[in-house]
Symmetry: C2
Subunit: 558 residues, 2 copies
Amino acid sequence: MGYKSDIEIAREADKKQIQEIGMKLGIESKDLLPYGHDKAKVSQEFINSVQGNKNGKLILVTAINPTPAGEGKTTTTVGLGDGLNRIGKKAAVCIREASLGPNFGMKGGAAGGGYAQVVPMEDMNLHFTGDFHAITSAHSLLSAMLDNHIYWGNECDIDIRRVQWKRVVDMNDRALRQVNVSLGGVANGFPREGGFDITVASEVMAILCLANNLKDLEKRLGDMIVAYRRDRSPVFCRDIKAEGAMTVLLKDAMQPNLVQTLENNPAFVHGGPFANIAHGCNSVIATTTALKIADFVVTEAGFGADLGAEKFMNIKCRKAGLSPDCVVLVATVRAMKMNGGVAKADLGAENVDAVNEGCANLGRHIGNLKSFGVPVVVAINHFVTDTDAEVRAVKDYVATQGSEAILSRHWELGSEGSADLATRVAEIAESGVSKFAPIYEDDMPLMGKIETIAKKIYHADDVIADTKVRDQLKLWEEQGYGNLPICMAKTQYSFSTDPSLRGAPTGHSVPIREVRLSAGAGFVVVVCGEIMTMPGLPRVPSAESIHLNDDGQIEGLF
Amino acid sequence: MGYKSDIEIAREADKKQIQEIGMKLGIESKDLLPYGHDKAKVSQEFINSVQGNKNGKLILVTAINPTPAGEGKTTTTVGLGDGLNRIGKKAAVCIREASLGPNFGMKGGAAGGGYAQVVPMEDMNLHFTGDFHAITSAHSLLSAMLDNHIYWGNECDIDIRRVQWKRVVDMNDRALRQVNVSLGGVANGFPREGGFDITVASEVMAILCLANNLKDLEKRLGDMIVAYRRDRSPVFCRDIKAEGAMTVLLKDAMQPNLVQTLENNPAFVHGGPFANIAHGCNSVIATTTALKIADFVVTEAGFGADLGAEKFMNIKCRKAGLSPDCVVLVATVRAMKMNGGVAKADLGAENVDAVNEGCANLGRHIGNLKSFGVPVVVAINHFVTDTDAEVRAVKDYVATQGSEAILSRHWELGSEGSADLATRVAEIAESGVSKFAPIYEDDMPLMGKIETIAKKIYHADDVIADTKVRDQLKLWEEQGYGNLPICMAKTQYSFSTDPSLRGAPTGHSVPIREVRLSAGAGFVVVVCGEIMTMPGLPRVPSAESIHLNDDGQIEGLF
């Protein structure tokens, strides 16, 4: 018997009215701003009204380093949420929104897969509730106001060679990576070099996801550095007087979006910062609100645990005062085999030796996560070709690491398949064993923080940084930015900066290519290797085959 | 006693749930896609289901040439809609959506004014239901796919010097008017000149507003000319294979938006093409749907009657098979005085002579409108300083033109003030006296159509066009575009191409500067004078003072 595709399953979903989903968490109709019948924003008034509530338990779902075999981190997040509801817990899922542009390059990412999905899938991969458009607008307004400031006399004395603020568009458009603007004569301004990033790379996106409320949002927007003067002193967004209007444009986007899983359980889908030059987590406001109204909140972070979980802990949890009660580390038998040297074409055949070999990657992530003081459960996201012996090999290995691995079959069976995982996760979270703490203190020097991450998480021997980078970090410390956390931007495929080094490499160095200050978001970005902030389209973009069929359904997007 | 500001009145509105407004037109909850509690889109299924209904009566509201005194065309449209409902008619208003960008330059335009407004005003001037963002996305996708096509081998053999398709953004950003794109080396493409227009100037906007349904939309998008080859043959959007994915991005945007007036009557607010390089009317789908479910539909067209009403009749009505049953021509005593030579500062003083002098502009519009075979009623949009003698002068003048003028006080009194106007308009519309026909035939040569408009509407002596323009028009006729209507782009302040020529000038010429083919929208744009398709921001943009106050309300936008 064949399996149904994700989109087939999603289209068969028996969706409930979003008001019914809201009621599961005590959100009444008047506190939901509907977008159609299956999406809604939670009102600011409601969010304010629940601030006195006790927090529920916070579960982070993270994964081993991604391989082409796929791990199913979002699928497991959704499956675990449904599993918790199945065993009688009031649970909500918190995940990120999808970027629009990339869907027109390669086929779009669903939110989860199999019988562990969030719906409506089409909307979530298109305009959804307009949050990313609002971010593009707010970002574009500052861009226009900045060049307008220069045009009308440049009172701030901006050095047009040192404008830091790039423009953004939510589309994969390589032609805009590097452009010359303000051409065509006096009426169009002073010609200068510029460029566009994709919207998810905007600092406005990172800020929206870290801000506690609209006041905090406005302050952080004002804090952004947009340019430097000839004397190298920074020009802030507030010098351009844009932060108030930007906040107005982002007012609705700050309200978390509520949708549902295939099993009609609540899911918050809100925010989606890049997981390289930003911290890669859903919004603080969605997570903190969910914790006030659900007993269990299951969330995830971008890429593998070395990037995603590290930033979740050291940036998001630190800044938002969050404390995870349990971490679920997702692995698959297939990914273990790829880490153990098996080629993708050969993944169908049983290979216990390769599984054992590949478990080194898993083991290192377990150890890293424990260094934050949190309990770790490994979820083996079941794939239909996995053999009992292979699954047993993973379980046995995990036991040697002082943790436990649980097979979960949510992809195939929904919550029926994830009930065991949910039961164990709930026990651990409720036991109060978590002693969470970030792995570096605020007052450690910036280079010390970088070295801590490189050594404790990447298990590198050292960090390589030239004088320019070191001087820049010192300058920021003098300017009062020394207390910020670090946002690492490196390959997600390896603990090292070399994407081909799978498993658990040692003896490597972490070379810093560049450092950037996101003064509004509140972190220092450390770039190790090539980071693409504006993707291109492939030779045959998926857009060429995306269309509406005669029934008005979208074809080719998935 | 002072008068309340538009925003004060709007904030005091006793809004009904949008489902209740829908029920007034027989639209049930399931057929409304809500966006919050006071906005909704009408479902495609509902639109399909009413196609067999009889049409209601169509009323066009247009105006004299705009002056700095203001005429209140939208205010009168809304006031007349409320007036018709007051006298027991089932009436709906159809107006355009506002462009986002300009609100951050100068204070935003409300939808109507005084006690004749459409709400929610803030949303309508910000993201509303995301239609314009969807248009920006669809446009941007084609932009990215076009440069991507060139990048991966340029199979269509596009001459990069002859790319016609500009990019768009919904922001006043003069720095983007003229740019060089694809700089930075091999990975970023082939450097070429480009530029950005504001979103409302996109041909996609014009198409969305003229398309009958999603199939028609997709076909028209495919018909757009995006570039020319070295042999001058056109490259279409469908050669780039973008029209299917663009249609998917526009699927929701094609559904008309329902909101309400201050008196809780239904208003469709949908689409907003430029009134110069496009036709300046709300969407065909909103107007035709409203006609199927209301007995009276009151709509408006951009700028004065010489531009707005002319295009409404010759482009929109022709293409959509619409036939106006009555035209309301809005004038104010103040605008008559300005046309009669009074400076803005002196408008407060009674000046019957200046009113009489200025009526020439009004008289010519009455005659022009009658040449389309439609009955004309003049609405004198009452201003508190108007004297009885001044109002009498306008009424007397209009009577000499074989029409009648009715004083309307909707701004001050809502429908109580517009009931007289509504009563007379309803009588005329129901009488069936309208014998509407466009003023030129499809098969007239393009230059003949231009001359017809110039002579019959502008009352010019001749049209001046150089050989290049005449050859271009001939070439388009040979390529099969000769049957298209003309979209004039000239100053809105005068019948002539000289904005300072008020009143009813004669003896002038109409010089054609440039002609452009909008093959998807289905018209030939004739540019007479400077047309700005990307505005700039002023020295002190309104954005600098736009912010949220401590109650979370938007300040500075109005």
